[in-house]
């Protein structure tokens, strides 16, 4: 009789937990070193610009590159960068601490949604959930003052833009698969991604940016 109660009690307790409770399905904590970030984005024949996107790309110049003015990359551009990333997991959120420009991203796991008053920002508003052992991050409220990648591919930051990232840990490798949706500039999905390697000896350095050193022309 006592034994039969245990599974029943377990089910009862589980049913009382909020559906969005951040019971981590995987341990993503640690410092991760990017692997081959240079090839993380698709080649030109692997995606399609809209006419507006093509025109924006053709007009890109160094003056339009916000990183030369020490503006942090944000999302989507900053999702891929060649510097280490530290991940800290908490019950209600997962925090991404990027060395690059000291970016901090909070991935909310508690079911909250972006408030109406939340303005478009470089980092956007990120919510997360688990699909098995994969962390799925959904980011909206993105800024038009941004790029898709370091080569000047445009990003509109229009209200219909969003980015989905999937992080899956396999041993000491963290796989990232991402899709950006920007109908203004791209036809269909813009897919990118890379791997990270866990670096137990890694260290996040300060990244102090001086815009006096951002001039290329």
């Amino acid at each position: 009789m006592r034994v039969a109660f245990l599974p029943l009690l377990t089910c009862l307790v589980a049913s009382l937990l909020p559906a969005s409770a951040a019971l981590a399905q995987a341990d993503l904590e640690g410092i991760w070193q990017p692997v081959d970030p240079i090839n993380a984005h698709p080649t030109e024949d692997e995606f399609e610009y809209t006419p507006a996107g093509r025109a924006a790309m053709d007009e890109f110049s160094a003056e339009n590159d916000p990183s030369f003015h020490c503006q942090m990359p944000g999302v989507p551009r900053g999702v891929i960068d060649p510097y280490p990333l530290e991940i800290i997991q908490q019950e209600h959120q997962i925090v991404f601490l990027y060395e690059y420009y000291h970016q901090v991203r909070r991935i909310y796991l508690d079911g909250r949604e972006a408030p109406e008053f939340w303005p478009p920002t470089l980092g956007g508003f990120s919510t997360g959930s688990w699909e098995g052992e994969t962390l799925v991050v959904h980011t909206t409220k993105l800024s038009p003052d941004n790029l898709m990648n370091v080569n000047g591919r445009p990003f509109s930051g229009a209200a219909d833009t969003y980015v989905i990232e999937r992080y899956t840990r396999r041993g000491d490798t963290l796989e990232l698969e991402a899709v950006a949706h920007d109908p203004t500039n791209y036809v269909g999905r813009y897919e990118f991604g890379m791997e990270y390697k866990l670096d137990p000896e890694g260290q996040i350095w300060e990244y102090h940016c001086n815009p006096s050193f951002g001039d290329v022309g």
Binding site: I38, N39, T43, C70, W205, N210, F213, G214
Partner: protein, 141 residues
């Protein structure tokens, strides 16, 4: 008569065509990464390791005997320092051999390049990619 060196006659030898796609890094947006530009006997004016990019300002004497000032861009300070490239490596007046990728005419100012290697007077050298730097002391090859 001491030969004046500036542009090496082999400076514009075409390097290995990089296999990486054009979109590899923003260096490819601004620099011709298929060409090696070599400046022998460059004289350091200024050397700063910084984010987003360090800078090496130097002068050379061109084939006409005129002094030209050039700027060479380095990777970020974070990459440079991780590879042992620090500001104390060079001082104004030092002689250094510069190798790099020239700026694309429509994308950058004149006399601007992206550094791929610098050879110091003491035999040590540093090599650079778009996202890394590595300093090698003499005898540590």
């Amino acid at each position: 008569m001491t030969a004046r060196t500036g542009f090496s006659s082999v400076a514009f030898a075409v390097a290995i065509i990089l296999a990486a796609p054009v979109v590899a890094h923003h260096s490819a947006t601004y620099f011709d990464m298929g060409v090696d530009l070599v400046h022998e006997n460059a004289t350091v004016v200024e050397f700063q390791v910084a984010n987003p990019h360090g800078i090496l300002v130097y002068t050379i004497v061109n084939d006409d005997g005129d002094t030209e000032q050039w700027d060479a861009e380095l990777p970020s300070a974070n990459f440079s320092r991780r590879g042992g490239v620090v500001e104390s490596l060079l001082s104004p007046g030092d002689s250094v051999k510069i190798t790099g990728w020239p700026g694309l005419p429509t994308r950058t100012r004149e006399r601007f390049m992206r550094l791929s290697r610098m050879d110091l007077e003491d035999g040590s050298y540093a090599t650079f990619t778009a996202i890394s730097a590595m300093y090698t002391r003499t005898g540590e090859e």
